[in-house]
Amino acid sequence: MTDFKLPRHAKGDRPAFFPGEPAADRLLGMVMTLATELAVVRERLDTIERITAARGMDLAAEVDGYEPPIGVREAREAWRQAFLDRLLKMLGEEVAPFRPAPESTPGPSGLPP
């Protein structure tokens, strides 16, 4: 945990690259973020496979049979939430000025999930 947060939004209006089509700008951001994450995971897996193969291990069967315990499920869901935060960053920034407070709950609908 750090005790400070660095800014993640560059001051200044974001240029619109697709005039009249703001959704296209958003989609470009999402797709490219996704591609970045995919490349990171792909490379990590490649590294793991190369290291284990060099030590004479075939992980495939163990991976397919793996049952995550609750602690692992929590860690994975936390990662997915952080990933979705990054993936959908622009949407979070867009709604922020209209929210009374960043951590305000319940939401405007008060509906269950």
Binding site: P22, A23, R26, V63, D64, Y66, I70, G71, R73, E74, R76, E77, A78, R80, Q81, L84, L88, L91, E94, V95, P97, F98, R99, T105, G107, P108, S109, G110, L111, P112, P113
Partner: protein, 393 residues
């Protein structure tokens, strides 16, 4: 906010998947939950802060109806993005499960055959016509719908439904998809604490996941489940057997069944009505009346009446499945004269109640409390229609 670590109980009929398929399904569940939060809740801030002011600037007043609010929202790029995202997540969800079901299908069919014997029974009627409201569109964008059959003794649609709806409800439906049935059992018990129905019919039972809580609640009762779709019935029959629960399944249309008049003390359904048609709902009410013994009751759980919600955005957000999730009757459902239809079916006015019931939701387990059986009941949930056949005559 608590992490959603809800996960399903695997049993021999549930598609298991490879590591990567399971990982894809877990991710899509999180993505779908996020997209639902953005479109059904977060977009409310956009509506209040940006959509209403824009509407006011143009027309000199705020949107006055659900329809006006929805049309105003549809012009907003945030709304366009988040409802598009939810639809995309819904499509990814089904395809992530179809990958598994397609590959494991032959093994699932074999497993269902192995569990064909057991405490329950199954009566199929291959000649039964599939109603137009099911053949016209695949409800909630589930490819192949309930009745699609692609192999001999096919159970794939049942397997796809069980895994897919677990992800679709973000696991709040319970490890065995039992929570909606449990909620309706609770509802009936609260209203009639000492009542012991002897024969219960679940209409449109699908894979019977909502039927089984009635077996547990009334162990002395004979429990029947009917549905028009054979794959779910085969799957549900084998599933009930392997769980050791006695349900008599038969392939029938709830509009006109072959049970004798007065055969049941209780007729129930769980979110069946809005996936039929206006005409079918009237027929189902008439058939419910015919099937009930004197003093018998019907309880149908379906969409809540959103018209009482004070905030137009809330109404639009509940309504949105009509527009982005292949639900042709959803938006019109609230405007049906349900009470009038029930009276026309024969139910006396004073026995008819239109109430709301909270949803029973599974609490995600955590390292600190790994118990997966904990639930909470939501404030807002289903609309429950109940009525009683008079004891006299």
């Amino acid at each position: 906010m608590a992490l959603n670590t809800n996960h399903q109980d695997f049993h021999p009929l549930l598609p298991r998947g490879t590591h990567d398929e399971r990982a894809r399904q877990e991710f899509v569940k999180s993505l779908h939950e996020r997209a639902s939060g953005l479109s059904r809740a977060e977009a409310g801030w956009i509506y209040k802060g940006r959509v209403v002011p824009a509407f006011q600037a143009r027309y000199g007043r705020a949107p006055a109806t659900r329809e006006e609010a929805r049309i105003a929202l549809e012009c907003d790029p945030f709304w366009q993005t988040v409802v598009g995202l939810r639809r995309t997540a819904q499509e990814l969800l089904w395809s992530s499960v179809i990958d598994t079901v397609e590959r494991e299908g032959p093994a699932l069919i074999a497993s269902a055959r192995e569990h064909a014997g057991g405490p329950g029974s199954l009566r199929l009627s291959p000649a039964l016509p599939i109603p137009d409201y099911l053949t016209g569109v695949d409800f909630h964008a589930m490819p192949g719908s309930y009745h699609g059959e692609f192999a001999t003794d096919d159970v794939c649609a049942g397997a796809l439904f069980e895994r897919g709806t677990f992800l679709y409800t973000h696991g709040y439906i319970g490890p065995m998809s039992e929570n909606l049935g449990r909620g309706m059992v609770d509802f009936v018990r609260r209203k009639h604490p000492d009542w012991q129905p002897r024969r219960i019919l679940d209409m449109g039972c699908g894979i019977g996941s909502c039927t089984l809580p009635w077996v547990d609640a009334f162990p002395g009762a004979e429990i029947h489940g009917i549905d028009v779709a054979a794959p779910g019935l085969r799957y549900g029959h084998a599933r009930a057997n392997l769980l050791g629960k006695a349900v008599q399944f038969s392939q029938q249309n709830a509009e006109h069944t072959d049970f004798p008049a007065g055969h049941f003390d209780l007729v129930v359904s769980h979110i069946l009505l809005h996936e039929t048609s206006r005409e079918a709902i009237a027929n189902i009410f008439r058939e419910s009346f015919r099937l009930l013994a004197p003093g018998g009751r019907m309880v149908h759980a379906d969409l809540p009446d959103i018209r009482f919600l004070p905030d137009l955005f809330q109404q639009v957000s509940v309504d949105q499945d009509h527009y982005d999730n292949n639900e042709p009757l959803w938006a019109g459902y609230y405007d049906l004269d349900l009470k009038g239809l029930l009276q026309a079916a024969g139910f006396p006015s004073e026995t008819i109640a239109l109430e709301s019931a909270g949803m029973v939701l599974s609490l995600p387990p955590s390292s600190a409390s790994p118990d997966r059986s904990r639930t909470v009941t939501s404030r807002f949930g289903y609309g429950v229609i109940s009525a009683q056949r008079p004891i006299q005559k």
